[in-house]
């Protein structure tokens, strides 16, 4: 299936969704002017991927900032991944956060509470 590669900007995250190389990552900052239309292709991609997923899916979130409107769309993405997991597939969410950013760490914990899918918190320095 088609690969999605979106370059990051000061207000939109970098997005890589590649079924073949098994690389799935959203990183950077997320405060798009139109949050729904920014994440629409990501959700559509996941919709299609869910029809025939890889045996193991590792999805990386490595955000340094996201606004409240984005938080809702991130939940939509996580719920899509939860669905893939519910269908009997191996799914792991890796939530990367700067080690000194408690709010980003807590955001990960909250998502892990809401969705029923294996969730790993990954602190990084820098």
């Amino acid at each position: 299936m088609e690969t999605i590669k979106i370059q990051g900007t000061e207000d939109t995250p970098k997005v890589t969704l590649d079924k073949e190389t098994e690389l799935m990552e959203i990183s950077g900052r997320s405060l798009p002017e139109d949050v729904a239309s920014f994440y629409d292709p990501v959700l559509s991609w996941l919709e299609e991927y869910a029809q025939d997923p890889n045996p193991k899916t590792i999805f990386n979130f490595k955000l340094v900032y996201f606004n409240t409107a984005s938080s809702k769309l991130l939940l939509d993405i996580l719920m899509k991944l939860e669905e893939i997991h519910e269908n009997g597939n191996d799914v792991l969410i890796r939530w990367h956060f700067p080690e000194d950013d408690e709010d980003m760490e807590e955001a990960g914990e909250e998502y892990a509470d809401i969705v029923d899918v294996p969730f790993e918190q990954v602190p990084y320095s820098g």
């Binding site: 405060l31 949050v35 409107a69 938080s71």
Partner: protein, 193 residues
């Protein structure tokens, strides 16, 4: 300004305005339409100023969060109105001040009077909530709330209170029989904790 006396009066006003800004430690003030471009410009300006002043990463992140949510509140809500009145076309006042112990971010925009009750209830509810209650409300709203046409998720005020740990101070001042000016100020402690 058609004569020298008026120009002089105006320039004197500018100096008073400047002194007044200094007295209130205002570092940024803007009146007009709040667009996404404005939001990006103001947040990056404040961010580079804070970095220059070696503000801690934690404080920088919180100020950034609060600024974005406040600016987006105006850009997403202020033009819900059907009125062609200039007061209602996504405009507002935005200011940032920096004191010895805290930053404050203040917004002001016109609202229709019939929105006052809803806004007051929402702010009072959020102000009364403790950390865990706010967390619960945020999660609930994220799950159940719907994105408005303008992309608002109804999470901004909750997020501000959670990030700052301080009550949101607000005030309504009458403009006319139907409308009021809604002022909201959030403070972010400069103590890194």
């Amino acid at each position: 300004m058609d004569n020298k006396k008026d120009v002089k009066g105006f320039l004197e006003f500018v100096y008073e305005f400047y002194k007044s800004m200094k007295a209130h430690e205002i570092t940024l003030v803007y009146e007009g339409e709040i667009t996404h471009q404005i939001t990006k410009a103001f947040t990056s300006l404040t961010e580079s100023n804070m970095a220059k002043e070696d503000e801690s990463g934690n404080v920088q992140r919180k100020v950034f969060h609060v600024m974005v949510e406040c600016l987006q509140n105006i850009s997403k809500h202020a033009d819900d109105f059907t009125s062609s009145d200039f007061l209602f076309s996504g405009r507002g006042i935005f200011l940032v001040s920096k004191g010895e112990n805290e930053y404050s971010v203040t917004t002001g925009n016109a609202v229709e009077n019939d929105k006052i009750e809803e806004l007051t209830n929402m702010l009072e509810t959020i102000n009364k909530m403790d950390k865990d209650e706010l967390k619960g409300l945020y999660k609930k709203q994220m799950k159940e709330g719907r994105l408005s046409e303008k992309g608002g998720a109804g999470l901004g005020f909750i997020d501000i209170k959670r990030k700052t740990g301080k009550e949101l101070e607000y005030h309504f001042l009458p403009i006319s029989n139907d409308t009021s000016f809604f002022l909201l100020t959030s403070t972010i402690s400069r103590e890194d904790n």
